[in-house]
């Protein structure tokens, strides 16, 4: 009984994950600039990767593999590392891109960061 429940939860998680991954890849293509694409990439990393990894672990736990605990533990550690690593990576990349002025922030409503940076440079001169 508990095996069946675990399998069904795992399948639901994987199904949600694959939907998020597909939507994120469409968003990566449709969005206009780098900074907006960051949000699509977040959907891809949290919804499209974190959830299905845990789902795969649950399915393994509900099956009759010989070393299923090893499988489950490895996948859980992988999911935790993905959750820690993806925000740090996208933050570092976004900051460097904004500082180097490589990608445009257009279209935009405001850009307070650029205003503050310009103010600081004005003080230095």
């Amino acid at each position: 009984m508990i095996d069946l429940i675990l399998t069904i939860i795992g399948e639901i998680l994987i199904a949600v994950g694959v939907f998020c991954s597909l939507v994120a890849s469409i968003g990566m293509l449709r969005f206009p600039n780098f900074f907006v694409r960051l949000h699509a990439a977040t959907v891809g990393s949290m919804g499209g990767s974190f959830l299905p990894i845990i789902g795969a672990g649950l399915i393994a736990l509900g099956s009759d593999f010989p070393d299923k605990w090893m499988f489950f533990g490895g996948l859980i550690v992988a999911a935790i590392i993905v959750m820690l690593v993806s925000p740090a990576g996208s933050h570092a990349l976004a900051r460097a891109t904004h500082r180097a002025r490589v990608a445009p922030v257009e279209p935009k409503v405001t850009d307070h960061l650029k205003e503050d940076e310009d103010e600081k440079e004005g003080e230095k001169d």
Partner: protein, 92 residues
Amino acid sequence: MDTQVFTFIMIILPIYLVSLLLYLIRAFKGPTISDSVLSIDAFSFAAIAVMGILSLFFKSLVLVSIAILLSVWTYALDVFVSKYLEKKEMGE
């Protein structure tokens, strides 16, 4: 493992393949370097999920450790590129 999970994985995998290919189109098109690197990120994380699901399919637990290595090295690649773009020496 029952056949129902097997069929489920068979339906899931082609969709992931499509999503991987769409990420790679952005990596190829990306007007700036940052776009390409961001889509490599997304590609690797999707690939990690594919690896987890495929190791269910192959019933071999040994393939899991590679997923962890892939995620960490992808993070390292992000950090290299952002350090390169920050216009500092790499070691400072």
